[in-house]
């Protein structure tokens, strides 16, 4: 029964495609168009300026700094977050001592840890950022308080007030708030790996280390890869904007030490009244994000494993 098949498909696809075009594709085209204008965002009149905005961007120190920080976020955050999440997930699902004949088991109390890890995911990123902003307060914040409590009175960093530390502080918060999600994601992935593999490995006398690198990781590779893309995009976009905007206030940390691309877009559009220039940086961000996804897809390509 092929009769009318295409009409049927087209009928169903037309509406979502139209919506997609209207709300996704069209704004993209609009943004790119505006990046060639001197639109202020405060008045409907503007004129075309050709590549002026792009020339200006390439000559803008703050842009390069933001780009550098954004790239650091995109490379380092997935590495740390996914690494930690893999370790935790492995310990929770496979790494425990064997009990009651089970071939594989998590460490003791693993179901509790799973909830504990996932908990930050329930909080809005804005709340997380605010909480940590208080924790990082050099005078009466929890972190310096803890340092004092263990006798480290001499070590009282200014955290977010120190250009050398501020970026790392912000990254740590992002890791803290996202790692739980990946623990759960990887746990789900590990649950679908057949138990016989582990039993076989066990019979061959493989330790935890070998089990992880020879069985778990290769079979989990696709999940890790999608996690990488997801985390990278998170780190390039909304989440990094939220934590930087809330925690380091002002223009992105002391001496621009934490400014990131989305924050710079926001500031140019909504503070400086230069929406045209902001869309130019937005286009740069788009290019970076696309490039990031492409690279991860290419580098991460592996032989497909069937099981």
């Amino acid at each position: 029964m092929q009769h009318g098949k295409y009409r049927f498909i087209v009928g169903f696809l037309a509406a979502p495609l139209a919506l997609y075009a209207l709300f996704v594709i069209w704004p993209f085209i609009q943004s790119i168009y505006y990046s060639f204008t001197d639109w202020t965002g405060l008045s409907p009149d503007f004129r075309m300026t050709g590549f002026d905005n792009y020339a200006r961007m390439l000559d803008d120190d703050v842009f390069w700094k933001s780009l550098q920080h954004s790239l650091l976020f995109a490379l380092l955050l997935p590495l740390v977050t996914l690494g930690l999440a893999l370790f935790f997930a492995f310990m929770l699902n496979v790494g425990g001592r064997r009990r009651r004949g089970a071939a594989i088991a998590g460490v003791r109390g693993s179901s509790f840890y799973k909830i504990a890890y996932f908990f930050p995911q329930v909080l809005s990123i804005a709340i997380v950022a605010l909480l940590f902003q208080f924790a990082y307060n050099p005078n009466d914040g929890a972190i310096n308080g803890a340092l004092k409590a263990v006798g480290l009175d001499g070590v009282q960093p200014e955290w977010l007030g120190d250009p050398g530390l501020a970026l790392w502080c912000v990254m740590a918060v992002l890791v803290w708030s996202t790692v739980g999600f990946f623990v759960v994601l990887f746990s789900a992935g590990m649950a679908s790996i057949p138990k016989d593999f582990y039993e076989a490995a066990l019979l061959d006398g493989a330790g935890r280390f070998t089990t992880f690198f020879r069985i778990t990781l290769p079979l989990l590779w696709d999940t890790v890869q999608s996690g990488w893309v997801y985390m990278g995009i998170l780190a390039l976009g909304a989440e990094s904007f939220a934590v930087v905007q809330i925690m380091t206030v002002g223009p992105g940390g002391p001496d621009y030490s934490t400014t990131v691309l989305p924050l710079y877009v926001y500031q140019a559009a909504f503070r400086d009244g230069q929406a045209g220039y902001a869309t130019t940086i937005g286009v740069a961000l788009l290019v970076v994000t696309l490039a990031f996804a492409a690279v991860v897809m290419r580098v991460g390509r592996r032989e497909r494993l069937e099981f």
């Binding site: 943004s31 990082y136 002002g250 002391p254 621009y256 696309l290």
Partner: protein, 481 residues
């Protein structure tokens, strides 16, 4: 068990999922760019309400039945004062409907409306999300308020509104030349804020010279109290006492040159002397530890808790810090101390200027109504209401008779009296927001006061920023008249 890849007809495989999630992520990333891109191009309808009849009680010829829309920034002063004034408008024009709304997000709420050509009739363009006035003026989005200034005041029909205002208010509303675009409603006294009680405990009075200042800080340090603190994350609070200090040392012209973005304006010896004096506070350990990492609220709280003696701030601090201020705090403000005998201006030279900028959009439907509302707010009754409820002065000169003023407010009034004509009004913070806050404030002064730049390096860096701003064709430039 499934497969890691999708076979034909087997539905969604993981690899596809990756691709889709990547695509999904991609569309969420440049949200900002299309958020800002959504409302442009709409030229808007220029429908204005018809003018009413000009009478003695209605000098601006307000259409008595036209609706009025007011949007007020809901910040440190709240919005009650403006609501009260709206009630008066409603009473004067019973046939008009007044739509009153408040927000903290002035820009995100109003930017699309400016773009669409249907802005409200009166706006308090204030707060962290203030719309850039320079851009609004440059793009002809604001109405000229000259008719309001030339209208008779409510309290005395023989006096123009213009003549009832505090010095500097009209000038502040101008950008290069005649029209007056902005009416600053509040009047802020900036300077060195302190607690009279805390000084008394140390057997001290406010130090009128820098040597006394250093001596007092040393004395406080011995008792475990810091001399100064400031909003470390917003170091652009430092200029509130630093700029008048510079003017005091080198004369007003130094600040004017800085405002005008003249080459080498920051290299004036007065700037260097002032920077070095402040840097000395850091060097000698008179700044509260951890200050570079705290924000304005946290620094004010540390100050009201008695951890530091002095804080550069504006007169809103009394209202803002009210919750943490002990009853016996006796808040006071003073002009910066003298550096030495060769200072060009006398002790008492202070920075005072308008705050809470009110604007009437050029494309508002009821421009006259917006101005009339401002005229009502500038009456003595409304002004007293404001001063009484939020402990701050208004642009209306005087108008505090018969009110019991709080300690801080009284100190502000006294400081103004002492300053007399020696009130300076640096304009960087309303002319060049980014330069003032982010570049001079955070990247320059903030770094210097945290000890990461020497005064000479800070000056060089700031001069570089100022030169770049002077050259930037995307920024509209202004000069003192």
């Amino acid at each position: 068990m499934g497969s890691t890849s999708a076979h034909n007809n087997e539905g969604l495989g993981r690899r596809d999922l990756i691709k889709r999630s990547a695509a999904l992520g991609l569309i969420s990333v440049p949200t900002m760019s299309f958020l800002s891109a959504c409302a442009s191009g709409d030229s808007g309808s220029d429908e204005k309400v018809e003018k009413g009849k000009k009478t003695a009680t209605n000098p601006l010829a307000v259409n008595e039945s036209a609706p009025l829309e007011v949007v007020i920034f809901d910040g440190g002063f709240g919005t009650k004062y403006a609501e009260d004034a709206s009630a008066v408008y409603k009473k004067n024009f019973p046939n008009a409907t007044v739509k009153f709304s408040k927000t903290q997000k002035i820009q995100s709420v109003l930017q699309p409306r400016f773009n669409g050509g249907n802005p409200p009739d009166l706006i308090d363009n204030s707060g962290a999300q203030q719309m850039d006035m320079g851009v609004l003026v440059g793009k002809n989005q604001l109405a000229d308020l000259t008719p309001l200034l030339d209208a008779p005041s409510i309290d005395d029909p023989n006096k123009k509104v213009r003549d009832t205002l505090r010095p500097g208010i009209v000038e502040m509303g101008q950008f290069d030349g005649q029209p007056v675009w902005i009416l600053y409603y509040a009047y802020t006294v900036y300077g060195v804020w302190y607690s009279q009680t805390a000084l008394e405990k140390l057997d001290a009075t406010y130090p009128e010279t820098w040597d006394e200042m250093l001596a007092l800080c040393e004395k406080a340090k011995k008792k475990g109290i810091a001399g100064w603190t400031y909003a470390g994350k917003y170091p652009y609070y430092l200029p509130f006492s630093l700029y008048p200090f510079i003017a005091k040392i080198g004369g007003r012209e130094v600040l004017d040159a800085i405002d005008n973005l003249e080459p080498n304006a920051w290299k004036h010896p007065a700037v260097k002397a002032a920077f070095e004096a402040y840097y000395e506070l850091y060097k000698k350990g008179y700044i509260l530890k951890g200050t570079p990492g705290i924000d304005h609220i946290q620094s004010q709280t540390a100050w009201t808790q008695g951890k530091a003696l002095f804080i550069p701030n504006g007169s809103w601090v009394e209202n803002e810090a009210a919750k943490t201020t002990p009853a016996d705090f006796k808040m006071a403000v003073s002009a910066p101390s003298s550096l030495d005998a060769s200072d060009k201006m006398p002790f008492g030279t202070i920075w005072a200027s308008g705050g809470e900028p009110f604007i009437v959009p050029a494309k508002a439907k009821n421009v006259q109504g917006g101005m009339e509302q401002l005229r009502i707010m500038l009456s003595e009754a409304s002004s007293k209401n404001f001063t009484d409820s939020v402990k701050s002065l208004t642009a209306l000169n005087g108008g505090t008779d018969g009110l019991t003023l709080t300690a801080g407010l009284q100190a502000g009034v006294d400081a103004l009296k002492k300053a007399g004509d020696n009130v300076v009004n640096p304009r960087l913070q309303d002319w060049y927001v980014k330069l003032q806050k982010e570049q001079i404030g955070v990247a320059g002064l903030g770094e210097m006061m945290a000890g990461r730049l020497t005064p000479a390096e800070a000056i060089k860096k700031i001069q570089g920023f100022a030169d770049a701003a002077a050259k930037d064709p995307n920024i509209k430039h202004y000069k003192h008249q």
